[in-house]
């Protein structure tokens, strides 16, 4: 009984945390526009009039892209560091960071 009560309290806390989070979502504008997300969700059969859910999906997607991109960035920097190691006389020749297919595929393989 005690355990149930405790879990009940925990649930309430979680619910409130979730609702707070959803409310805070409305303040944050994800980089992926809502219309685009809504379009593809509608294509897949997801029907929801609630904007916050769409924001949630948009934020999740943005997080996913950011993770993949950061992994690719690490690969890119590692490669540049390897190149520079070989030729120490040259200054850092390429500070320009380019997202290439190689880095992208490596980071996606890990996902």
């Amino acid at each position: 009984m005690n355990h149930n009560q405790q879990s009940g309290d925990a649930k309430n806390d979680d619910d409130s945390a979730l609702s707070d989070f959803l409310a805070s979502l409305m303040d944050y504008t994800p980089a992926i526009p809502d219309e685009l997300v809504e379009h593809y969700l509608a294509k897949s059969g997801f029907q929801c009039p609630d904007v916050r859910l769409i924001r949630l999906v948009a934020v999740a997607t943005q997080k996913f892209v950011a993770e993949v991109a950061s992994d690719a960035l690490q690969h890119c920097k590692a490669r540049q560091a390897a190149v520079i190691k070989d030729k120490r006389e040259k200054q850092q020749k390429d500070k320009h960071l380019i997202l290439t297919m190689d880095d992208l595929s490596k980071s996606l393989l890990e996902k």
């Binding site: 997300v37 029907q47 993949v68």
Partner: protein, 386 residues
């Protein structure tokens, strides 16, 4: 044998890949494609990249579409499993968990965990708290734009009596009899028309044919509107145009994309506007649409007959012009090349006249058709010289 099978397999894989990749990159999706590229680029820029390879950007944008698609699919599946039509926040979270289940997330091993407390949600909260707000670069309108579909009015809506008891009144009404009855009843009309009326009909159709030819020519030349205006009165040639066979009109419509598609669209749009203004019922628009396609047929016949100056016999015209049709497909002046061969048939003069006589918005069409006819005359003369 081995080589052949290898090649087949490669082609098969290629086609498979193409079909897979084109699922989210259809031509109708160009707008979404462009937007998602911008979005992905913005996110990557915030991560730290300064430039991207095109292929990498496209690949990443394809991936996020698949991601969104799979989230939506899983969430709607969960909702349906729970007996709901609309998805819930918990459905979405479960979908996210399923996506991230390959890597694992905090709390996934707990048996009685609350979905709201899942690690995925906490990760997202964490992310939102840390990342700066990056508004999207462009102002995106709601899409896809849904055109208001003006359905055909039902019998009941139009206040018409359905023909016969077997037709319920809530079904859409039949189109105007003029749009479809001319073909079947033209024969009857022909019988009843006297000689004097025949010549008048022929004159009317000639006039309209010329204007239609002009219209065609104008579109074939892509807006070359400086064409010299020629009042073309080749009565002899136009008379041949009056004998047009509807069955031969089909190849023309298929081949002449430049001429067929755009003129049909434009007048339809104009007709729609006019219809909105004048509150013309929808079936009139549809009827005009249909009759427009058919009206080009005699016009093109006139062009074709104009090509052959010397011969008056129909059969010879047929024979001389058939090879022309084949040779001229590739050239810009498609309308000339694809002029079909209209055999004489009894129906057509009456038919054509009835087409032209019944529609309300024929004036601007006539004007445009006249222009095109004039230009076609000019080009036909050039061809004759060549």
């Amino acid at each position: 044998m081995n080589d052949g099978s290898l090649e087949n397999r490669k082609e098969h894989e290629k086609s498979q890949k193409q079909s897979k990749s084109s699922k989210f990159r259809r031509k109708s999706d160009d707008f979404a494609l462009a937007i998602r590229k911008v979005a992905v680029a913005q996110v990557c820029e915030s991560v730290g990249f300064q430039s991207f390879q095109h292929s990498a950007l496209e690949t990443l944008s394809d991936i996020i579409v698949r991601y969104i698609y799979s989230i939506g699919k899983t969430a709607s599946l969960n909702a349906n499993l729970a007996g709901r039509a609309e998805a819930n926040v918990f459905d979405v979270i479960q979908g996210l968990e399923e996506l991230g289940s390959g890597l694992g997330f905090a709390g996934s091993s707990d048996v009685d965990r609350c979905v709201a407390n899942s690690g995925i949600v906490r990760d997202i909260v964490h992310y939102v708290g840390h990342v700066d707000d990056i508004p999207f670069a462009y102002d995106v309108p709601r899409f896809p734009v849904v055109k208001e579909w003006k359905g055909m009015g039902s019998f009941w809506e139009k206040g018409e009596e359905p023909l016969g008891e077997h037709i319920p009144s809530w079904l859409p009404a039949f189109p105007d009899p003029e749009t479809y009855a001319t073909r079947s009843s033209a024969g009857n009309e022909m019988m009843s028309v006297s000689n004097g009326e025949k010549t008048e009909l022929a004159r009317v159709e000639r006039k309209v044919e010329q204007s239609l030819l002009n219209l065609q020519q104008r579109f074939a030349h892509n807006g070359n509107e400086g064409g010299s205006s020629r009042d073309g009165g080749d009565n002899g040639r136009a008379r041949k145009a009056s004998l047009s066979n509807p069955y031969l009109a089909a190849p023309l419509l298929f081949g002449e994309k430049e001429v067929e598609v755009s003129p049909v669209l434009l007048p339809a749009k104009l007709l729609n506007e006019v219809a909105l203004r004048n509150h013309v019922p929808e079936n009139c628009v549809v009827g005009n649409h249909v009759s427009l396609l058919e009206t080009f047929a005699p016009a093109i016949e006139a062009i074709k007959s104009g090509l052959c100056n010397s011969d008056n016999e129909q059969k010879k015209v047929l024979y001389n012009q058939r090879p022309l049709v084949h040779f001229k497909i590739g050239i810009g002046k498609k309308s000339l090349g694809m002029a079909p061969d209209f055999n004489s048939s009894k129906k057509d003069p009456g038919k054509i006249a009835s087409w032209f006589g019944n529609d309300n918005e024929k004036d601007d069409q006539k004007r445009r058709a006249e222009k095109i006819l004039k230009e076609s005359r000019e080009s036909s003369q050039e061809r004759a010289q060549l």
